[in-house]
């Protein structure tokens, strides 16, 4: 073992009356470990949320949404769809009538909400967004049993069936079979022309759409494309085409291709293909901004931990001033002395970083695994360290042996691991009542290995830098003054 390592390792371990230093070494290691673990966990959660949102979004969302820049209706859409499908990467297309519309439920006499109505062809829409998998109930907009029943018992005209976003239905207090009145437009009163009356269409609620995407579940109703065209009196015309690609990442390039290949006259309007990235840009850029802010804050956490190392080392240097004098007397150079303290700090930093990485990854694993952990083990978790501590205290009265120390350390690690295992459960947004905000039910965790390596390197670097000043301070002690230090 090299001389500097020999001395530094002894100072780290320290004995009996100097045990103070070894305790502060442990605290310093703990500080770095907690910092690193927090960073890894928080970034994993943020990455998880971003990827979770993305995956969920992409699973049930068109990759490219094609429309005219003024959102107006256009005819001859089958030809345009054929043009779009001619592009290699296009997997599926769905013609859609998309509009905003006022609603009032049958039990209400005022407009309760304004919702988005999406007129779709269920088969084509399925190919793009997997629509029917997310509907509880039927997607047969024309011949559902609810529609038949409503037509039998009601004297109003039933235009068709509607699948309503689950949360929207809950908000409006609607169950399957209820009639929802859509306000298509306002018409003049036949008797008094200064009055306006709503032109209503009655739709029977045949199912609920539950995508766990707040934006749809809260705001959307789905009707058949023919019904939608009839509502607006736009037979054979649509205003939007939804496109699914073989690879969502290709969206920007394909969107430009679609704009170029679909032919419109100047009078019809300018084609505008928007990618899913553009549509969700505010969300994803907010997430990215949040991540940058978090990384900065987390770097500060590690910086704080590194101050711990610096102060530990400065205290060690103060404690060891006389020793430094002795070592210089014995022929140790400034470089030797500097190395001793740098090794000490680097060992603290390295152990802290390794421990923190292990802790962070363990937490990530625990939070993402679905194992059921019985809560009465908490008691055991509390008892275990106490029993251990008592055993250690008892044992201390007798000469310690390496084997016993190793066993005690192993037990401690197992105890802490066990505590973690029992304490940490996957955080369920549903339990917290947050699933409608986060658009998912369970906190997603995604470990970004590149970032784990990055944070390890950063932590080691910061810890190493933190050793420089105290080590320099030790190296520059004057031997004679150091020897006389009390």
């Amino acid at each position: 073992m090299r001389f500097e390592w020999f001395v530094a390792s002894r100072y780290l371990r320290s004995r009996r009356k100097q045990s103070f230093i070894s305790i502060i070494s442990i605290i310093a290691i703990g500080g770095v470990a907690l910092g690193v673990a927090t960073v890894i966990l928080v970034i994993a959660v943020l990455d998880g949320v971003e990827h979770g949102l993305r995956d969920r979004f992409l699973a049930n969302e068109a990759h490219v949404v094609f429309r005219l820049h003024d959102h107006s209706f256009f005819g001859n859409y089958q030809k345009r769809i054929t043009q779009i499908q001619a592009i290699d990467e296009v997997v599926a297309t769905s013609p859609v009538v998309l509009a905003q519309i006022g609603v009032f439920p049958e039990h209400s006499d005022t407009i309760q909400d304004v919702i988005y109505i999406k007129g779709i062809d269920p088969v084509q829409e399925d190919a793009v967004t997997g629509f029917s998998q997310l509907v509880s109930g039927t997607t047969d907009f024309q011949n559902s049993e609810y529609i038949e029943k409503a037509r039998l018992i009601r004297d109003e005209t039933i235009a068709g069936g509607i699948v309503l976003g689950g949360r929207l239905a809950a908000r409006l207090g609607i169950i399957k079979g209820d009639v929802l009145r859509l306000v298509v437009k306002l018409v003049k009163h036949p008797a008094n022309e200064s009055m306006l009356l709503p032109d209503l269409a009655n739709f029977v609620v045949i199912g609920f759409y539950e995508s766990e995407m707040a934006v749809y579940d809260n705001n959307f109703g789905f009707i058949h494309i023919n019904d939608a065209q009839a509502l607006y009196n736009k037979a054979n015309r649509i205003n939007t085409i939804f496109v699914r690609l073989s690879d969502a990442e290709l969206a920007p390039q394909i969107a430009r291709e679609i704009e170029d290949s679909v032919q419109f006259t100047v009078l019809e309007g300018i084609p505008d293909a928007r990618t899913w990235m553009e549509i969700q840009a505010p969300l994803f850029s907010a997430l990215r901004l949040e991540r940058i802010a978090t990384v900065i804050i987390e770097a500060l956490i590690i910086l704080v931990a590194s101050f711990n190392i610096a102060s530990t080392l400065i205290m060690t240097v103060m404690e060891k001033t006389k020793d430094v004098g002795t070592l210089r007397t014995l022929g140790a150079s400034r470089g030797n002395v500097m190395k001793i303290f740098m090794i000490q700090g680097s060992v603290i930093g390295t152990f802290g970083t390794m421990l923190g990485t292990a802790l962070g990854l363990t937490l990530c694993w625990l939070l993402s695994s679905n194992a059921v952990r019985p809560s009465y083990w908490y008691v055991l978790v509390l008892v275990l360290p106490i029993v251990l501590q008592v055993l250690i205290a008892l044992r201390r009265a007798r000469p310690s042996r390496g084997g016993w120390k190793f066993a005690a350390a192993t037990l401690w690690i197992l105890g802490i691991g066990f505590a973690l295992y029992c304490a940490v459960r996957p955080i369920s947004f549903a339990e917290l009542g947050l699933s409608h905000i986060y658009q998912m039910n369970q906190m997603p965790i995604k470990v970004n290995w590149f970032f784990v390596i990055f944070i390890n390197v950063l932590s080691l670097l910061i810890c190493w830098l933190a050793t420089l000043y105290p080590a320099w301070q030790a190296a520059n002690l004057k031997p004679v003054e150091a020897l006389q230090h009390e």
Partner: protein, 241 residues
């Protein structure tokens, strides 16, 4: 006298001053002194005359304000810091009034430390250190820590430590100053024996008159100057007997 063997250290017009603001405290004021090979030299004088300062400068722990210290006619303070540390490691052994053992290391490790600094082979060094501990009569205590040793034992460990690299000169600052009579005698016996066997030069700073009578030469410092240098005949006679 042993000065026929040649001069090991030559101190030429050595000055050392300390400054407290503008006030200058002149501790050494033109010391000229030769230390011969294998010589036992005692430096005596009242407290505060600069004995320890002189020893620190000879031992390269401190630099002089003016003047030079020549080992084999080479001015050691021309060396850069790192080389000076290496020189100190190889050529000079120290024994202090307060042993200055490292508390976290066993007696054996303390003795070996000087050689470990050079990254010499651990096993070889430990063997040598064991032999030295055996020589100072502490072979049994090699795994003990300084706080488990008595004052005299600690000082003997410190002497063994000073010898690990077989230096040409051992500098001792009041080596018996902190010991009771019996321990002092043992330590001194050890020093004389060492000097006789290994031929190392010893420069001993002391108040101890008894000790001063047993050395080859005594140098007295007064107000930072050498005022007298005499041969201790008594010691020579004792040694010859």
């Amino acid at each position: 006298m042993k000065n026929s063997a040649g001069t090991l250290i030559r101190i030429v017009d050595l000055h050392k001053s300390y400054y407290d603001g503008d006030a200058e405290l002149r501790v050494l004021q033109g010391i000229n002194l030769d230390v011969h090979k294998s010589e036992l030299l005692a430096v005596v004088g009242a407290s505060g005359v600069g004995k320890s300062t002189l020893l620190h400068i000879i031992g390269t722990l401190d630099r002089p304000t003016a003047g030079s210290v020549l080992y084999d006619e080479n001015d050691i303070f021309n060396m850069p810091d790192k080389a000076l540390a290496g020189f100190r490691n190889k050529e000079i052994g120290f024994v202090f009034q307060f042993h200055h053992l490292l508390p976290e290391f066993t007696a054996l490790e303390n003795v070996a430390m000087g050689a470990l600094i050079t990254n010499a082979n651990h096993k070889t060094v430990c063997k040598e250190a064991e032999a030295l501990l055996d020589y100072v009569g502490l072979a049994e205590r090699r795994t003990h820590y300084p706080n488990q040793l008595s004052g005299g034992e600690r000082q003997r460990v410190a002497i063994a430590r000073a010898l690990i690299n077989q230096p040409r000169v051992v500098l001792a600052d009041e080596p018996t100053g902190n010991l009771d009579r019996r321990s002092s005698e043992r330590v001194l016996e050890l020093l004389w024996d060492l000097n006789a066997k290994s031929g190392q030069a010893f420069v001993i700073v002391t108040h101890n008159q008894e000790l001063a009578q047993q050395v080859d030469r005594v140098v007295q410092l007064v107000d930072g100057k050498v005022v007298g240098s005499e041969t201790s005949l008594g010691k020579s006679e004792v040694r010859e007997n």
